[in-house]
Symmetry: C2
Subunit: 188 residues, 2 copies
DNA sequence: GCCTATTTTGAGTGATTATTCCACATTCAC
DNA sequence: GTGAATGTGGAATAATCACTCAAAATAGGC
C-alpha cells in the first residue's frame, strides 16, 4: 500500500485541481473530466489513488472545514476579538478554501449527509466558542451570552456571504466595525 | 396560441413541482426526471409549455426574487423597522421561496450569468433602500448610513443563512434583537 | 357530432456523467 | 539487474442528463 513518490505527486496534483475547481466552478463544475484535465492525469491513475470522485472532494472539504478554526487545541482560551480576527483572516488568507466552505454551507451540503453534518457540527462548535469568550469578558447569563454570540456570528456570516458574491468587498473593514459596535454595547 | 384549461393546469403543476424541488433538492436535484415525475407529466407535455428546463427554473427564481421586496412601488417611504420586518416576514411566510433565493445567492448563481446578475442587482437595491431609510431617521453622512445599512443587512443575511441550515431556528426573535441593538446605537 | 387547435404520450436522440479494466511503463528494495 | 509493487494510458461501460418528434388523445367553438 505504500506509495511511490510519483503517486504522491499525482495525488497532490489531483487535490490541487479539485480544490481550484470547487472554488471556481462550484460542486457542479467539479466534474471528473475537469479534474483530470486540469491535473494532467488520466482516469486510470485517478482511481488508483482515490476510490471515487467524492473521496477527492471530501478530502478537500475536510481541509476547508478544519481551516476555519484558529487554535483547535486551545479551546476556552481565545478572546472575542481573537475569534473575530481569526474568522476574517481565514477568508482573507485562504479565499479558495473559504469559498468552498461557504458554498457547501448553503448549497451543496443539502445533498450529502456527511458534508451537511460536518458543516452544522462545525457551526455549533464555533458558536460555543464565541459564547465562552463572551462569558469570559462580560458578567452575563449563559442564555444572553449565547444570543450575543449568535448575533455576532450572524453578522460575520452575512459579511462572508456578501464577499462570496462580490470578491472585492472589504470584509475586514466591516468586521472591525461590527466588533467596535459590539464592544460599546452593554447587556441590559 | 391560446391555451386550453388543461394546458394552464399542467403549467401550474410543473411550476409547483419545480418550486418544491428547488427548495428541497437545490439546483442539482432539480432534474427533468424529478420535475416530470413530481408533476405527473411526460417530457412531451413539458416542452409543449416551456422552451427549456431553464425557463421553468428561471420563472420560479424570478418569482422568488421579486417576493423578497415588500412594497416595490413605495421606494423611499419605508422605515428601517418596516424593512427589517418585511425581510423576516418573507422568510417566515414563504420559506420555500426564501430557501430558493438563498441557495441561488450562494451556490447556483455562480454558473448562470443571468441569475447571478439578478441576485446581485437585487441586493444592491435592497442596500440602497436600507441606506435611504437610515438617512431618513438619522442625521448622518451618506457613507456612514451605507455602512450602517451594510452591517444591518449582513446581520439579517447571517440569520437567514443559519435558518437555511437549521429550519427550526427562530429568525424572527434574533432579528428583533438586531433591530433593538441598532436603535440604541449612536453614530459617533 | 364535426373539425381544428391544443395537449399528451413515450420511445428515442446524442451528449455527458462517473467508473472500470487491462495492457504497459515506471519505481525501487534487494 | 531482477522482480514485485506501484503508477499510467485510454478505450469501453452503463447510467443519467436535457431534449425531440410523430402519432394518438382530448378539448371546445360551432
Amino acid at each position: 500500500m505504500a506509495r511511490y513518490r510519483a503517486g504522491l505527486q499525482t495525488r497532490d496534483r489531483i487535490l490541487d485541481s479539485t480544490r481550484w475547481l470547487l472554488a471556481r466552478a462550484g460542486l457542479d463544475g467539479t466534474t471528473m473530466a475537469a479534474i483530470l484535465d486540469r491535473a494532467k492525469v488520466r482516469s486510470g491513475s485517478f482511481y488508483n489513488l482515490f476510490d471515487s470522485k467524492n473521496e477527492a472532494i471530501l478530502t478537500v472539504v475536510r481541509e476547508a472545514i478544519n481551516a476555519v478554526d484558529p487554535h483547535p487545541d486551545g479551546v476556552g482560551q481565545d478572546t472575542v476579538e481573537e475569534l473575530v480576527t481569526a474568522y476574517v483572516e481565514f477568508f482573507i488568507g485562504q479565499p479558495t478554501l473559504a469559498r468552498i466552505y461557504m458554498q457547501l454551507a448553503v448549497g451543496g451540503a443539502l445533498n450529502d449527509e456527511d458534508v451537511a453534518g460536518r458543516v452544522i457540527h462545525h457551526h455549533r462548535d464555533r458558536l460555543e466558542r464565541f459564547t465562552d469568550a463572551i462569558r469570559r469578558t462580560r458578567d452575563t447569563t449563559p442564555a444572553k451570552a449565547q444570543l450575543e454570540a449568535e448575533l455576532l456570528l450572524a453578522g460575520l456570516n452575512g459579511l462572508a456571504l456578501r464577499w462570496l458574491l462580490e470578491p472585492d468587498f472589504d470584509m475586514k473593514r466591516r468586521a472591525r466595525e461590527i466588533l467596535k459596535r459590539w464592544k460599546v454595547s452593554q447587556p441590559q
